[in-house]
């Protein structure tokens, strides 16, 4: 039984995956912020951002197959922004002023570099966290309990939703005698009538089970806290250092 969503969580096996879960989350957040803060328009900034993102992927130990899919997805998401450049220039300005092209590419380049790096860092961080790690990490951080509980259950229950969606698609394909794109279209149009009520029913039953098993009332740390070691402290300091460097680059404290 394949569950790509669940198989992705915790698939990384690098040194970062051995840190305390809360440190992985915090370091990932700091590096995500660093990638977004560093300026894409300067040579130092444009060098800093990919170095941070690629280094994080490497120390997280994200499998090559996942990294490739991730980068391809990122390129597909952010490269099209460059198509907007001609619209930003305007043909009269393009003829009159060659530097107008440089200016027109600034915004798409910003979006591309920040977006791709941010996505890579966030996904690599998620790849170091299994669903259990995510729960242990979130409950150790000062995040609102409801937010943590909802996020944990979203991750945990998503494979159920995937299978439910596959079952709906299979039933529609068989009963409607369609395949490929037509099935996809039917599934899409059936969302309000078929998929949504099923999902609501599913959510209702899970809510009953949570109530019955005392999920909300239980101590969120029942499964224990991970101990913080020297490597955890060094990692979080390095991540915060990167964020500090990105801030310095943004504020032009480093030319």
């Amino acid at each position: 039984m394949l569950a790509p969503w669940h198989d992705f969580w915790g698939c990384a096996g690098g040194p970062v995956a051995r840190l305390a879960p809360q440190i992985r989350i915090l370091a990932g957040m700091a590096l995500f912020a660093a990638c977004l803060t560093a300026p894409a328009g300067t040579a130092l900034g444009a060098g800093f951002i990919p170095v941070v993102a690629l280094s994080w992927i490497a120390v997280c130990g994200v499998p090559r197959r996942v990294t490739k899919s991730l980068v391809l997805l990122g390129l597909a998401m952010f490269l099209p922004y460059f198509l907007l450049a001609p619209l930003l220039v305007g043909w009269r300005a393009a003829i009159a002023d060659a530097s107008a092209w440089t200016r027109a590419f600034t915004a798409p380049w910003d979006v591309f570099l920040h977006g791709l790096a941010g996505m890579v860092v966030a996904t690599a961080t998620a790849a170091t966290l299994s669903a259990s790690d995510l729960r242990r990490g979130l409950v150790a951080l000062p995040v609102p309990r409801v937010f943590a509980a909802v996020l944990i259950q979203i991750v945990h229950q998503t494979s159920g939703l995937q299978f439910e969606s596959k079952r709906v698609a299979a039933a529609l394909a068989v009963r409607g005698a369609t395949s490929g794109g037509r099935t996809a279209l039917r599934v899409l149009t059936s969302l309000p009538q078929i998929w949504l009520p099923r999902i609501i029913g599913h959510a209702d039953r899970i809510a009953s089970a949570m109530e019955l098993r005392g999920y909300a009332e239980s101590d969120p740390c029942v499964f224990g806290r991970a101990a913080i070691r020297t490597a955890d402290i060094a990692s979080i300091l390095a991540a915060l250092g990167s964020l500090g460097l990105a801030t310095a680059l943004r504020c032009r404290w480093i030319a």
Binding site: S132, A209, L212
Partner: protein, 238 residues
């Protein structure tokens, strides 16, 4: 209501909306400690609603008590501590990513130390023939495995009352036999909602049939239920 009863219903009615036709009407029965009873009924007869009412998941009129504790808003937490519950879709009650975490949760939530909780959860899984699944992620399990894990989570706290909703649904014949053998070895009172007559015949000594939310039979003769369902001929021919 007698405190020796693991579960007692007294003139219980359930309506999902006020003024609507009741899903359960004037249901009265009790189950003694250690007694194994089946609630039988066709689809939509009210079996699941009856179990839900017993744990306070649906409101009711009349009196329900579990081990002498009346089921009410203020007592529902105490009542639930006395009950192990198996939903009819077991995956709905698996709330944690790893099998051992899910099985141990009931003990951890009651303040049991982690090592001891995991040891007992491992034993509960072992007893159900699922000891090898302890480190597995829930989403990798088959239906039958999920059912056993859910049951381990319900049994691990050693509750005096087990409420099982369609526990044999989706199990193969050896799986059903193994499940009934495990349940037979427990001291707890068991109420099984099912329409699997073969399974409940193996497990239970008492049968309560409900139809349209009313008890229509309460006794030890399963053939009476078969006759009601028009299955006597099929049984004789098989």
């Amino acid at each position: 209501m007698n405190s020796r009863h693991a579960l007692a219903f007294e003139d219980v009615s359930v309506r999902y909306e006020s003024g609507a036709v009741p899903v359960l009407s004037d249901v009265t029965f009790s189950i003694s400690a250690g007694e194994r009873t089946a609630i039988l009924g066709l689809n939509g007869s009210g079996k699941t609603t009856l179990l839900m009412a017993a744990v306070g998941l649906v409101g009711h009129e009349g009196g329900i008590s579990v081990c002498g504790i009346p089921v009410g808003r203020d007592t529902v937490a105490k009542v639930r501590e006395k009950i192990g519950f198996l939903f009819n879709v077991p995956e709905d009650q698996l709330l944690f990513p790893l099998v051992i975490e899910d099985a141990a949760f009931g003990l951890l939530a009651r303040g049991q130390a982690r090592g001891e909780a995991y040891r007992r959860a491992g034993k509960a899984l072992d007893d159900l023939g699922s000891g090898g699944l302890a480190g597995w992620p829930i989403h990798k399990l088959s239906h039958g495995q999920k059912l056993r894990v859910a049951l381990a989570g319900a049994l691990v706290t050693r509750p005096p009352l087990l409420l099982l909703d369609e526990p044999s649904a989706g199990l193969d014949p050896p799986g059903k036999k193994a499940l009934s053998q495990v349940l037979e070895g427990l001291d707890a009172a068991i109420l099984v909602a099912s329409h699997d007559l073969e399974f409940v015949e193996r497990l239970c000594r008492r049968f309560i049939a409900i139809d349209d939310g009313r008890i229509v039979y309460d006794g030890e003769d399963l053939s009476a239920v078969r006759r009601k369902w028009g299955m006597e001929d099929a049984q004789a021919g098989s």
